[in-house]
Point group: D4
Chain length 250, copies 8
């Protein structure tokens, strides 16, 4: 692995004349990623970003996913595969036996070092407006767990029956960060944010029909929240919410 030390050593060698000017340039261009033509696998992302490269599987072929995964495993990186259908997983499983799959979250993962379920970090509370929003909430939850955060779930507490929410006020108080997943009117994050001093990450979902226009209604509602303390990720992007929550949950 390329570390700051390696670089220092190489610089020393250059100074001592052991490496030519051309050579040092070539060395520096030898960046810490593996080039397999159709993908440039970023094997050192963990060092730079705090977590390994995550593979969005939606538009990749199984062959592509397997090849990228093997490089990451070889480099002792944890694997996190998102938006992965059951069908594709079954194909991957033959080559990547270590993988386990979470059907609801549509996520496969493998974590050799057992980074899961550490308890030193604050709790991330994940809430949904309805039952149909759960898959995206689980995508966030699994992402957070793989990244070592304890997670609590509070599902189906939409504003149509807001007493269900007040009843669980204690859960809000215990959390360090709150993720709110909601489709349709996307009103839940505004209400939750008004009740707490914790940062709220809002995930609009495409759940609904008619004038929800595939999640646009919830997205606009969340961006225009009358309550400050909310930031928003892409429609259906449970992974993004989980990843962002993990970054601020240190």
């Amino acid at each position: 692995m390329v570390t700051e030390r390696t670089v220092e050593r190489v610089l020393r060698d250059f100074k001592k004349g052991r490496i030519s000017t051309k050579g040092i340039l070539r060395y520096l261009s030898n960046m810490p990623y593996k080039d397999i033509k159709f993908a440039k696998v970023d094997t050192h992302r963990h060092l730079r970003r705090g977590f390994a490269e995550v593979i969005l599987c939606q538009n990749k072929t199984p062959a592509q996913i397997i090849r990228i995964s093997k490089i990451l495993i070889k480099n002792k990186q944890p694997l996190l595969l998102t938006k992965l259908s059951r069908e594709k997983f079954n194909l991957l499983k033959k080559s990547l036996e270590q993988l386990s799959y979470n059907e609801e979250a549509k996520i496969a993962f493998f974590d050799a070092k057992g980074r899961l379920n550490r308890r030193k970090r604050g709790i991330v509370l994940i809430m949904t407006g309805g039952t149909s929003d759960i898959p995206f909430a689980e995508e966030a939850a699994v992402t957070l767990e793989v990244m070592g955060n304890p997670v609590k779930r509070l599902y189906d507490v939409g504003v149509a029956g807001i007493h269900r929410l007040f009843d669980k006020k204690k859960l809000l108080d215990e959390a360090s960060v709150i993720i709110v997943v909601a489709g349709m009117d996307g009103a839940l994050p505004s209400v939750v944010s008004g009740l707490t001093s914790k940062p709220v990450i809002a995930v609009p979902t495409s759940i609904g029909y008619g004038a929800n226009f595939n999640g646009l209604s919830a997205l606009l509602s969340m961006l225009n929240s009358c309550s400050p303390g909310i930031a928003v990720v892409n429609i259906d992007n449970g992974f993004g919410a989980g990843y962002f929550a993990s970054l601020i949950n240190k």
Copy 2:
């Protein structure tokens, strides 16, 4: 005035030969409105629809408004002029002295018969999410009052501080109909509807900035409410909400 009785009488005359076939056709074509070329003033709308013709002033010239108003006054109809700027009102005032003006609601009205402030109907509660939504709420309130409905106001109770709403739960229980006016995330109608069995009329407003796209965020949020019992009117259409509320408040 043309009433059912007049028609019966005319029909009788036709049968008795006092009116020719041509004559009855001409009579029937003599519909109960006044044709002043640029407008067909519907002087009998009160009979047919339960309320006189309302004049949307936004794109009309003062001369047009004055002419239509005078015909309605002559026909003893109550006058209701909406979306009327202070400047235009000042011009109208010279010709239509009876008019009084509500600056906040941007409505002028004149009601010879004193239909205002009757108390036999149920209370219509008008709520706003914020202070900036008040002009549209007042447009609804004045419309309702002119149409003879008692009105209560509960302003600035947006979901960012939802305890302000719960505190006033009694007002919700006393109302027959509830109008909820909100911009930005448009989340208030969903919350209010979840707390009551009264019909909720939602008025999205253009209040906000950025991705609210002139009220689109609130409109979509309200149309996609996760709580049933809500119907929606046009953006900034306080008058429409008041009119509709009056129709169902019988």
Copy 3:
């Protein structure tokens, strides 16, 4: 069931010292809903809102629907399942034998107490612009009937042949509330509203093609109606129109 009386009794006990401060807090947190993790079934919604919780089936698994339904049945609540495909219904039928299914409305329901077909309320008239709008009209009709409202139907009377509408003027006069379901140009509610003093609930549908953009044309047309007395629900939301009509038909 939690009633006001139960609360009074508990408060008395607290005063008498039979219940500790902590105890009363715990009691109050024991809110009247059943927590089954993936859903918080609102068994008392009937008391609070006037009708039981309705299950939107579109994005729920059969297992989820069955579990929520069973809790509602156990709590003697009427069942109303909307946007339910024939395939899903067949799966549900095995576990929920009492359910009957309306294919056109895509609604299943079960009402132990026979709330159906009561005649004390006013008539709700349901109209459609075309034949293809009927499924959404039936969704409204079945919802209204389950909630105890007499319903009349007037289908395929679009403005392209407006005499078909005038011919049925009497039906408009007899109704207390009118629901108008229309796709394409969404012009019918404006015309109907101009002929009556009854509140008109407009349901835009996604029926059409090209620049109707999945119902946007009808939605915008209805929101911008030149005739006051109209409120609008979401595209294809027959259920929402029926529910709202029932609220105002008391």
Copy 4:
């Protein structure tokens, strides 16, 4: 002026050797328009298209308009200037004294040959939904009159009071072509078209507010009309409707 005859003569001359090959090419490149750098004035459009070039003044400077107009006048073409503000007209008037101005239509014109008010063509009936739509209707009317068509006007007959329309059924029967100008819900063309076998040209206007999105609601409504026999022009494009109506009114 270049006519077919001129071309024939030139071709003959070429054959007879009076014109060289190069010469004929140069001649042909001498197309029947006047090049004034910032504009290529199409002085022969009348021959080709049946009417002279019309100048859309909205984004042109007075100097540009004057220069183009003078060339057209010199070529004995009728002048038609659309979307022309009163301010700009006052500036033009100094250089183009012949021009007369129609304030409502925002059109200036000059027609040396008196093509106006010929009566051999069929009547074009122009209708509006409301009073605020009149300027766009007048734009169509003036265009039609300049092009030699008799015009009848039927204004403010929107669907909110549809009896105002039925009352005037005879006017529909007498017309050869009908132009319907409407904003807001844009419902009028559908209703009119359902009552007649005449072609209906629909002009959506930007009149309205909120979710009419500058005329989008009326435009989509008209494009999706449930009644066949309608074609649509651009929002606020009274001129285009008048021009098209004149083409089919032969």
Copy 5:
């Protein structure tokens, strides 16, 4: 069939006392359409509108189509069924043997009286920008032919190779009306219109990909044509263009 004469006779009878006041009202309510609950078949549309009711089959069940068709046949109306898939047609064929089907146009029709191929009317020229636009052009062509108009076709003459168009200038000159069908940039109607004094009916199609947004690019392009003399119908609405063209081709 109800004709003006029948009405006159009935009115006479009323005057003579042979029919009571109630009776005449009942008679008039007996409007000239057949009510089959899910549809109000407009059997007299031909008299009123110049052509029989056309059935848009896209969202109707085969059973509904058959029932409506049989009433029209019984009333000696020509049948025109649009947007009809081959699968649905095969089902219909069993009950409606007379129907013939045009696969490309997705239209079925039956015309007992042989209104087809009359030659007294002007020629309608139908052009397409590309090969993929042909189905919508054929929809227009078949509609026109059923309505008795001679049709000429000029396909695949898009502006990318504009010489293909100039080559066929004579066809433009011979036509009375021109229909231009184009997807993608929708530029063809502007070019055609600039070359002719005939009215151009533009049909935007959904052909294309990416930022054509299902025909929006062509639709907006056509509505904003820099050349006057164009009117537009809905995206993919070949039938509407054909119907409109027939109305103006008298």
Copy 6:
């Protein structure tokens, strides 16, 4: 001020019979906000949310702003007035002398307790893509400073000259949270996020022209970032970004 202690005391009094059941209910309904009809001033928001109520001045009258401000000052709350024009500030200044104004940020504030410039928290780095984005960045900066966070600024480092960014890599490493403000292509947050393990809050701005559609281009770009670790606030919402950053910077 209402604190938990006050509540405990009141509860004790109720138990001891010093307060009746009715009395305790009345007490509880006496919620910790000041009702001034047009606004419900949330004087205790600091306790509940961690910061006092912030006043969005854009659509409020000076009179409304002054009245709300005075209540907050009386309750010893810090004042933060956003989207406040210079003109409005000058009017406010007469009544609220303590206020100071930041022209670039369009924010006025007053903080009696001197919460400003505390250094115990992490640094929040605020970056902009261009010079024109600075006002929104300053809105975030002032918000953060009033809330007690040290701020560093790195302006005009857009991706068009990305070396300007790499040069300042050290600033990224020192920060706890990064706010990135950008209009036009909105590409900067993606690039910044790829270089750091710190959470990035993205603020799209309306800066640009043409197809940026008032900030839509930057908003969509940021929501769809290919780099995880980004959350987004509303267009031009510098305040929201600052507030959210302060919540996570504990």
Copy 7:
């Protein structure tokens, strides 16, 4: 084949009287394309435009594609078929044995004259943001190669790991033209353009989900790039980018 010389000869013959006036007109109308009714095959496009007609196969039937292809082959034109599915290709293969197919690019081609792999032109560098963008990049690459341009590929160098890009700076320097293919945030072209003086052709792709709205996010981002030197083609239009790159790579 029609060349300038043929025309000269014909003109000479006309002058000499060997061809009549009518004859020359007929000759000129005999334009250099083959009319097969459903398509006007532009067999001389190579002369006029520098490359033969390309067939977009997406909405054409196999029979149509085969017929057009055969004419082009007969006229010794190179064949390039884009957006061609494997299924359709298999059907074509039977009639057009010469065709070879590139699965990733979804392009079939046949080039009798071996125009491929010429090296005299500059290198076109094709970059992608991610692995999923490769099919559109390959569409551009194959197009370029068929048109005789040397191509280099640099895939999966998105801004989330921008060091992968800097590492390959030399490739940018060697290229004459750069094509950048990216979905999601579409940020890559801005970054690339900022590093080079070569023209950058940006291809937005529909890769992504949620608020990318089928490529709209990348399209708007690219059109609003803060870095000059970029031009954009349609979403997913790899062919268009390749074609345009070939035109400027002379």
Copy 8:
């Protein structure tokens, strides 16, 4: 100025021990731009990109523009200020006397080295559809001239009178690159591209009204051109088109 040579020299010094490791790092961080806090002036962009930094003035204060300009002048860079109003220019003129201003193009420039009007490059032909598009065409023209390209103008040749275009075919043949500026239907680039083998850069403009939605109609039309060989820049972005044309005109 920092050149490659300077870097080589510094590296040599480092090797020789004249510069410490820390020193060389500090040196490298001393990037070639001038940091003036609100802007990072990119004084070396000419070396890297082929042209100096261009200042988009639209949202910058005069003070900001002056300060950035002075640094560029000091570094002997040519100045190019775009989207600059006459009012702002008058203010700038006092401090930057060298500036000259082009009113139509809204561009100010100053070029000490006289790079203007060199003739070695190919001709760039700039065309407009209408007279109102000229300001954006001039923005492109001035940009090109400042960057040393000979420019020819061909204005007002829109497709409504396409013979005006054919007449000037020779100009197309002489050009190396063609820029086509058009609003409304945006059809001109498709037609031009079909006639030439030169690359066409399309500039959609916001000229038009109604459903052109501020240039959206022209933008979509150009992106979806049925003729390959076109690339598009932002709406009204004449500068971007000129800059891109200059890059490919080498």
